[in-house]
Symmetry: C2
């Protein structure tokens, strides 16, 4: 059917109708008092969402641009950094720090495994000369559906004292609690097409006072993503360069919705949808790719053995107009991924589980009882 | 009146209703075949608009980000560059090249004056060691309404042989003809909220084969704005990072409209609107800020002497809901600027001229005959 698509990928995520329509308003001048008011409201709500008193800076860029801003503003060529790498995005940040001439040490785990906080602790404790300037961690690894143990890793970084903790929270912000000020996270980067419930095009960077001190001495060359001017402009409810006005309209509307729902409710909804999805997948006799104790609340990766992952995606798309994500890089063809991040309701989860069961049946996957997936999801939703 | 705004600033520019509504569609996955088709259509139309056979690369960034990409991909720290500076944006590019450690020589002219191609020719001819690696020129200087003589400057650069010509075409692309391949321009950067008739958030960079050769040896560190991956992805109708899907919907719709109108018609419309605006301003007895032979086709700056520029803007806004731009930096309070770039019709020009005359009368500016502005604009529109 035409125009009947259901987007169940981990970004772009579904966008509420009122947010889509807010984006269809005519742009106004970005230097007008009216737009300044919008920026002011957005900035207040961004602080609320980030659980921080610090300014959260907004850049016109995709999530990769936000992460780059989070790295190049606080480090200098030759700085030693540890980069957690257990998927496509962790690997991307290691490539990035190498591109900027940072002495990059990968703390690696297999794709689908969780980063070992102990491996990071050992490196940090052995660094008695305090040479490690940053630990860079992908909180929710979108490519595998693994949620890394940021709280523990951060505790080790805090014990080190010198290193900054720089976090890719692209698919964790707005899905799980990330108490930035309470944990003392230094740099947290995210992107709009994820938990924010708006289309791609905006990146966000929360910056601690300690990171701003590092900014003073960091020497990597920068201009467009130099966060100094963004900090000054943000304090005046302005932007250093022309912002994507219509996306900002959408952001304003989406943040208002998030405040109405409330942080705890948002996190609880993601938790329920994650657990319901995982219970259904298990009940359908499919192997979950990420372990239960490290499940991303944004995306569930499934590694089917009795049917082909790409065939599952293909039938789901053609017969049910549901878009699932495939595997990336080494996981291409091996897994499919169900996004449940942002504007995703319990109803959507039941929908995708029902369609998945029909798809599996069509593909000849027989090791499941009729209705087992929806039944399992329903049990989670009823009791949580 | 509420919701009755007319945006007559040089960016963001007015957006057609069908483009606004295209942006209100639900995002689809950026790795889907459907989106790849959209990218393919956009890329073809971007080449058409740029009058080039080379790929035009699209980045998620404002115009400043596009210019940064146009500079850091093709140069190395210590490279000697000439930067034309006769306004806020020329000055910004000089600040930028300095931030990246380029040996920056400003070729300066007063704000409101045109760059002297002879000054650039002399520098280039004296450079017998071929040390100058790039000449960076703002084609249409948005802050002053001056159109620099890019064709002549480029001829001198071509005679030099070694230097690249890097052009900020942010408010000239889509307003005046910029035959990139015919002139042999190396790097041309622009932004979406200008001649493209869509909101801000996308930057564009056209790159010549000679510039790609320079890319091979350029050593400035880069990642998000490294154009190599963009080139590879563009060839496959893809993007290296998540593109701003809804802005791309808008871009697709706007480029289709531009093709329907035709390049020559678009340029002729901008020419007519520019000349009608300038004739009206003169007939109203107000001094034009930029000389007639160097008039930007995007924006007309006016430096009133009998009334205050900011009062003109304020009455235009309050009484007529017309947004004009003010002066920037050293021109703050001295000039006002009328945008006539992108989706601006002859009707809009007559509207703003009529409202301006009423405004001037209210402010006590008496040196004009009744209806002189509209009469002068009408004469231009009738005979051109």
């Amino acid at each position: 059917m035409e125009n009947k698509d259901l987007l169940m990928i981990p970004g772009p995520t579904p966008v509420p109708e009122n947010v889509l329509l807010a984006q269809a308003k005519h742009p106004i001048g970005h230097r007008s008092p009216e737009f300044s008011e919008i920026i002011g409201e957005i900035n207040e709500n961004l602080k609320w969402l980030h659980q921080t008193k610090q300014d959260v800076l907004t850049v016109t860029a995709s999530g990769t641009g936000a992460m780059e801003a989070g790295i190049i503003n606080f480090l200098s060529a030759g700085d030693r950094v540890l980069v957690g790498s257990n998927g496509k995005f962790g690997e991307r940040w290691a490539d990035m720090t190498e591109a900027f001439g940072l002495k990059t040490e990968r703390i690696a785990a297999g794709w689908g495994e969780v980063l070992d906080p102990e491996a990071i602790r050992e490196k940090l404790e052995a660094d008695t000369n305090q040479e490690i300037k940053a630990v860079i961690v992908t909180h929710s690894e979108t490519s595998t559906g693994v949620l890394n143990d940021l709280e523990t890793i951060n505790r080790h970084v805090k014990n080190h004292g010198e290193a900054l903790i720089i976090v890719d929270a692209v698919t964790s912000l707005g899905a799980v609690s990330l108490p930035i000020d309470q944990w003392g996270l230094d740099v947290v980067a995210s992107g709009s097409q994820k938990g924010y419930m708006i289309p791609p095009g905006l990146g966000f960077i929360a910056v601690s006072e300690k990171a701003w001190q590092a900014y003073e001495t960091a020497t990597l060359p920068k201009f467009y993503l130099d966060l100094g001017p963004y900090r000054k402009s943000t304090a005046k409810n302005s932007t250093p360069y022309t912002p994507p006005i219509n996306l900002m309209y959408g952001l304003q509307a989406a943040l208002k919705m998030m405040r109405n729902e409330g942080l705890e409710n948002i996190f609880a909804r993601h938790e329920r949808n994650t657990q319901a999805t995982r219970a259904a997948i298990e009940a359908l006799g499919l192997p979950l790719f990420a372990p239960n104790n490290a499940a991303s609340r944004a995306v569930t990766a499934v590694e089917p053995t009795t049917v082909e992952a790409e065939k599952v995606r293909s039938v789901m798309k053609k017969q049910f107009n549901i878009a699932l994500a495939g595997g990336q890089n080494e996981l291409k063809g091996r897994i499919f991924r169900i996004g449940h991040l942002g504007f995703v309701s319990e109803r959507d989860v039941l929908t995708v589980v029902g369609a998945l069961e029909a798809t599996l049946r069509e593909l000849g996957h027989e090791t499941m009882a009729n209705g087992a997936g929806v039944a399992a999801a329903t049990r989670v939703l009823a009791y949580s």
